[in-house]
C-alpha cells in the first residue's frame, strides 16, 4: 500500500514540498518551491520582506491552501490534527487577547496538547517570571513576543515554527531567545525560523534556505552557503595598474581603495600566483574570506543576473 511508503518518509522527513505554489490573485507569493526537511536541527528561511517566507510557513501550518503542488507535514496533509499536535508556532502578526495574563494564555494552550510541558518550567525558560500574572495588554513589545514564544513551545512539540521571532527585539532579548532555541534543538526538536537577519541565521541555523521573489534560490548547510561565494578578497599595495590586474587569472573584479587595491577572486591561489609573478614587490598583503552577508548578496546578485 502506498500509505506504507509515506509512513516511512514521515519518520524522518518532516516537511516535504514539491513544486509548491501559492497565488493571491495575480501575485505569486510562493513559486514552485520544492523542499525536503529532515528531522532535527535548526533551519533558517532567509529572505527579504515579501520573499514568500511567511506564506510558505502558513501553508505548512495549514493556514492557507496551496494553489498547486504537493505539501506534506510528517507525511500528513498540513493542518491535520495529528500534525498540529506535534507543532508549535509563533506567528509574525499574531497578537493575543488583551485581557488574559501570560499564565492564563499558556494554561489554555497547554490544554490543547496531549503532553504539554510544565507551565512553570516554560515560564522560567522563556523568562516570563515577574509579569506572568499581568494582563497581556500591559506588557511591553518584547515581553509580548516572549509570551508568544512560550505558546509555541508549551505543547512540547516536535516541530517549532518561528516566523520572524526576533523582529523588533532588543539585543538582550534576542540573545536570550537564541539560547532557548538552541536548547530546544539540543533536545532533538526541529526548528524552522524565518528571518531577514543574516546574523541570526548565521548564529543559529544548521541549514539555510534562501528565498527570493517566491523561489528558493539556495538551500545548503550554513558553511556551504557562506562558501558559495567561493573565492576571497585580496587586499594589497602594488605598482600594477587596475587594468593589468584585471587580466590576471581567476580575477573577478578590481577596485582601488586609497593606496590599496581590492581584488575579488574566484580562486585565491591562482590569483596570488599571477599577482606575485607580475609584481613580486607587493606589500601589506591581506587575504579575506567573504561574510555571509556578502555571500547572500552575491547569491541574490547572481540570481538576478540569470
Amino acid at each position: 500500500m502506498s500509505g506504507n511508503t509515506e509512513n516511512k518518509i514521515s519518520s524522518d522527513i518532516i516537511i516535504y514540498a514539491k513544486d509548491l505554489s501559492k497565488k493571491f490573485g495575480d501575485a505569486i507569493a510562493v513559486n514552485s518551491v520544492s523542499l525536503s526537511l529532515a528531522k532535527g536541527g535548526i533551519t533558517a528561511i532567509l529572505g527579504e520582506n515579501g520573499a514568500g517566507k511567511t506564506t510558505f510557513i502558513h501553508a505548512c501550518l495549514g493556514l492557507t491552501n496551496p494553489s498547486s503542488g504537493t505539501l506534506s507535514m510528517f507525511g500528513q496533509p498540513p493542518g491535520s490534527i495529528s500534525v498540529r499536535r506535534r507543532t508549535g508556532s509563533m506567528l509574525q502578526d499574531a497578537d493575543l487577547p488583551d485581557l488574559l495574563s501570560p499564565r492564563e494564555h499558556i494554561e489554555l494552550f497547554a490544554s490543547y496538547y496531549p503532553d504539554p510541558l510544565n507551565i512553570d518550567v516554560v515560564i522560567g525558560m522563556c523568562k516570563l517570571t515577574g509579569f506572568a500574572d499581568k494582563k497581556y495588554k500591559k506588557l511591553s513589545g518584547g515581553q509580548k513576543r516572549r509570551v508568544q514564544f512560550a505558546l509555541a513551545v508549551i505543547g512540547n512539540p516536535d516541530l517549532v515554527f518561528l516566523d520572524e521571532p526576533t523582529t523588533g527585539l532588543d539585543t538582550d532579548t534576542r540573545k536570550m531567545l537564541w539560547d532557548v532555541v538552541r536548547q530546544l534543538a539540543a533536545d532533538g526538536r526541529t526548528i524552522i525560523l524565518t528571518t531577514h537577519y543574516l546574523e541570526e541565521a548565521d548564529a543559529l541555523a544548521d541549514r539555510i534556505v534562501v528565498m527570493h521573489a517566491g523561489k528558493i534560490i539556495a538551500d545548503a548547510p550554513t558553511p556551504e552557503i557562506r562558501s558559495l561565494a567561493g573565492g576571497a578578497v585580496i587586499k594589497c599595495v602594488t605598482a600594477l595598474s587596475i587594468k593589468a590586474i584585471s587580466v590576471l587569472p581567476a580575477v573577478i573584479s578590481v577596485r582601488r581603495s586609497g593606496r590599496f587595491v581590492e581584488i575579488s577572486t574566484e580562486n585565491q591561489t591562482s590569483a596570488l600566483q599571477g599577482l606575485l609573478m607580475e609584481d613580486p614587490n607587493i606589500s601589506e598583503l591581506i587575504v579575506k574570506k567573504p561574510s555571509l552577508e556578502e555571500a547572500f548578496e552575491r547569491i541574490v546578485h547572481d540570481k538576478e543576473q540569470e
Binding site: E104, E107, L108, S111
Partner: protein
C-alpha cells in the same frame, strides 16, 4: 484555573436558574390560561349553516371560532366539551321581532343570539351597534333594527303609542329615510296595506319613493304587506324583502318566479299568522316541557293570550301553501317570529316558526338554514350565522338532531354568545313564590265611597281611573262615587270614559289594584262577577299580574242597558282569562273599549266567587 472558573460559574448559574424557575409564581392550572370565552368541542355533529359535518371538532378562542377540523387537538388546558351524540348549530337569528322590555334577554335564553327588529322606538337603538360589534360577555342577544317604520297617519304602526313620524307624499321619502338612518336604523321597513278597508296606508308612490330613497342611501327596504296584490306592487317597486306571507289568495307562478328572479326574500311569520287565524299555538309551547321551565311568567302570559278571535283574511292554510310554493320556486324564506304579538314570545316562538316552515314543506335542514345563515346572508351580516373559522362564536349545542326532527331545536344543551356560555336556569316554579291571599273577595261595594274594604285597604289596594294614556294612547277616564248603587242601600262607582284611537288596544275605565303590583293569591276563586249599567257597547275586563309586561289576560263583555235602566250582573269565568296565573294577582280593570266612543257606566258589587 480556567477550568475551575468555568465549572464554578456554570454550576452556580445552573443552580440559580433552577431556583428562580421554581420560585417564580406559578398558576394553579397545568398550562397556559385561556380567556373565559375560549373553549373546544370534540366529536360533534355540526350544522354549519348549510350542511351537516359529522365527527368534527372546533376551537373557539377569545369569542371567535379559530379552528375547525376532523382531527383537531384541543389545547391541553383549554376548556373542552365532548360533543358525542350532540349537534352544534349557529346561534339562531330571528328575522322579525319587536324589541322592548326584556326581549333581548328572553330570546337569548332560547338560543336566539341575534334579533332583527322590525319596528321599535328610536331610543331602543341606543348602543346596539357598539354592543353587537364587540365580543363581550352579555346576557342579551344582539340587535339590528328598522327603528320606527314608515306608515301613513292612522295606519298600521300608529296604534302602539309610540311617537312615530308618518308620511303621505313621495317627496318626504328621502328626508324621512335620512332621519331614520341618523337615528341608527339599519334598514327601512314600510307598511303597504292599501287594500285594508279601515286602515290608512302609504300609497304606492310614497312606498316606491321610500324604496328608492333607501337604496340610494345604501340600506335594504322591507315592506309589510298582507295581500298578494300589495306584494305584487312592492315586487314591482323593487323591494328587497317582504314581511309576512300574504294569505288572502294562493300565490301565482308568475309572482313566485319574479320574486325568485329579483332575489327578494320573504319572512312569512307563520307563528303570528297562525295566531291571528285563531290557532292557539302558544299553548303548544306552554305544554312543551323543554320550553316552559325557561319561560318567564310574562312570556307565558303572552303565549296564552290570543288575538281573541280569528281575523278574516288570515287563512293559515293559504299562508302555509304560499310559503311552500315560494320556497319551491327558489325564493329565499327567512324564519321570523314577529314576537311578542299575542300568542308568541321572544325566543321560543322562533323554534315554533321553524316547525311551521317544516309544516309548510321545508325540510328541517332548510328550516334551520332559514333561521341562521340565510338571514345573515339576506341582511349582509358577515360575522355570524355560520359555523366557520373567523365567525363570532354565537352557537348552540343541542342534544337532539334538529336537522332530522325540527322539534329537537328545543333540546338546548348549551347556548354560547360571543364565546361565553350563557347561564340558562329554569325559572323559579310559581308555587315557590308564596303570595298572600287576597284579604277580601268583595273588591268593592262602594256604599260610602270608592274605597274597598278596610282589609283590602290595609293590603294596599285601591280603586282608580285607568286609561291608555299610560301607553301613549289618547283615551281618558274619570271615576267618581255615585250615590245610588245596585243594591239601593249604598253607592256605586261611576266611570266617565272617552275611548279614542291612538293605541292598538285602546281602553279607559276603572282599576282595582296594588300600587306596587305586589302579587296576591286569588287561586281560591273561580269567577269574577259585578253589576254594571251604562252606555251600551263592548267592554273589557283585564286582570293584571305581578311583573307582567304586554297585553294582560282579558275578557270582553257587553253592556246592553243604559245608565238609567236596570243593573246587569256580569259573571266571568276565571278560566277564560287566558294565561292568568291566579297566584300573582295584582289588579283588575273594568274598561270601555277597544271600540272608540264615549262611555258612561257604573259598577257595583265587584266580587270574586267560588
Amino acid at each position: 484555573m480556567l477550568k475551575k472558573i468555568f465549572v464554578i460559574t456554570i454550576t452556580a448559574l445552573t443552580a440559580l436558574l433552577v431556583f428562580m424557575l421554581f420560585a417564580l409564581p406559578a398558576s394553579e392550572k397545568a398550562d397556559v390560561k385561556f380567556s373565559e370565552n375560549s373553549f373546544g368541542v370534540e366529536n360533534i355533529r355540526i350544522f354549519d349553516g348549510e350542511i351537516i359535518l359529522e365527527n368534527y371538532s372546533l376551537i373557539v378562542k377569545d369569542g371567535v371560532i379559530s379552528q375547525m377540523g376532523e382531527d383537531l387537538k384541543i389545547p391541553k388546558n383549554m376548556q373542552a366539551y365532548d360533543g358525542k351524540g350532540k349537534t352544534l348549530l349557529p346561534g339562531f337569528i330571528d328575522s322579525h321581532t319587536h324589541i322592548f322590555g326584556p326581549a333581548l334577554k328572553d330570546s337569548l335564553l332560547f338560543a336566539v343570539t341575534t334579533n332583527f327588529d322590525m319596528f321599535t322606538s328610536a331610543q331602543t337603538l341606543t348602543g346596539m351597534k357598539t354592543k353587537r360589534s364587540g365580543i363581550l360577555e352579555t346576557d342579551e342577544s344582539d340587535l339590528w333594527s328598522a327603528g320606527i317604520m314608515a306608515t301613513a297617519p292612522g295606519g298600521h304602526g300608529t296604534q302602539y303609542g309610540i311617537d312615530i313620524e308618518t308620511l303621505t307624499r313621495p317627496e318626504q321619502a328621502s328626508a324621512w329615510v335620512t332621519r331614520r338612518l341618523a337615528e341608527g336604523s339599519d334598514y327601512i321597513k314600510l307598511v303597504y296595506m292599501p287594500d285594508r278597508p279601515n286602515l290608512a296606508s302609504l300609497d304606492l308612490e310614497t312606498s316606491s319613493a321610500l324604496i328608492k330613497a333607501g337604496h340610494e342611501q345604501g340600506v335594504l327596504v322591507l315592506a309589510h304587506i298582507s295581500t298578494l296584490a300589495a306584494a305584487q306592487d312592492m315586487l314591482n317597486a323593487d323591494v328587497d324583502g317582504l314581511v309576512h306571507i300574504f294569505a288572502d289568495k294562493p300565490v301565482t307562478e308568475e309572482f313566485a318566479a319574479q320574486a325568485a328572479k329579483d332575489n327578494v326574500f320573504i319572512i312569512p311569520t307563520l307563528a303570528v299568522m297562525a295566531s291571528v287565524a285563531g290557532e292557539n299555538l302558544g299553548a303548544d309551547i306552554l305544554a312543551n316541557q323543554l320550553a316552559t321551565p325557561y319561560l318567564t311568567s310574562a312570556q307565558k302570559q303572552g303565549l296564552a293570550t290570543g288575538f281573541g278571535r280569528a281575523w278574516p283574511g288570515f287563512d293559515i292554510d293559504i299562508a302555509l301553501e304560499n310559503t311552500r310554493k315560494l320556497h319551491a320556486a327558489g325564493v329565499v324564506i327567512l324564519a321570523g317570529s314577529d314576537a311578542p304579538n299575542p300568542g308568541t314570545t321572544h325566543g321560543a316562538s322562533l323554534h315554533q316558526e321553524m316547525a311551521l316552515l317544516v309544516r309548510a314543506g321545508l325540510t328541517p335542514l332548510e328550516a334551520l338554514h332559514a333561521a341562521t345563515s340565510a338571514t345573515a346572508a339576506a341582511f349582509g351580516i358577515k360575522d355570524r350565522g355560520r359555523i366557520e373559522v373567523g365567525m363570532r362564536a354565537d352557537l348552540i349545542i343541542v342534544s337532539g338532531r334538529p336537522d332530522e326532527n325540527i322539534a329537537h331545536s328545543f333540546t338546548i344543551d348549551k347556548i354560547v354568545k360571543n364565546g361565553y356560555v350563557v347561564q340558562r336556569e329554569k325559572q323559579k316554579p310559581i308555587d315557590a313564590q308564596a303570595s298572600p291571599e287576597l284579604a277580601d273577595p268583595i273588591l268593592g261595594n262602594f256604599d260610602k265611597d270608592i274605597n274597598p274594604s278596610e282589609n283590602l285597604t290595609t293590603q294596599g289596594f285601591a280603586w282608580s281611573a285607568t286609561d291608555d294614556r299610560m301607553a301613549n294612547g289618547k283615551s281618558e277616564a274619570k271615576i267618581s262615587h255615585a250615590n245610588l248603587g245596585a243594591d239601593e242601600t249604598g253607592g256605586a262607582l261611576r266611570v266617565n270614559a272617552q275611548v279614542k284611537s291612538g293605541f292598538f288596544f285602546p281602553w279607559a275605565g276603572a282599576y282595582f289594584g296594588h300600587p306596587a303590583q305586589k302579587a296576591h293569591n286569588i287561586a281560591a276563586y273561580n269567577t269574577l262577577s259585578f253589576q254594571v249599567r251604562g252606555t251600551p257597547g263592548m267592554y273589557t275586563a283585564m286582570i293584571f299580574t305581578s311583573g307582567s309586561v304586554g297585553a294582560p289576560p282579558s275578557q270582553n263583555f257587553n253592556i246592553t242597558s243604559d245608565i238609567t235602566s236596570d243593573w246587569q250582573t256580569i259573571t266571568l269565568n276565571m278560566e277564560n282569562f287566558n294565561g292568568l296565573n291566579p297566584k300573582l294577582f295584582a289588579g283588575l280593570a273594568i274598561t270601555a273599549g277597544p271600540a272608540p266612543g264615549v262611555f258612561d257606566y257604573e259598577i257595583d258589587t265587584v266580587t270574586l266567587g267560588k
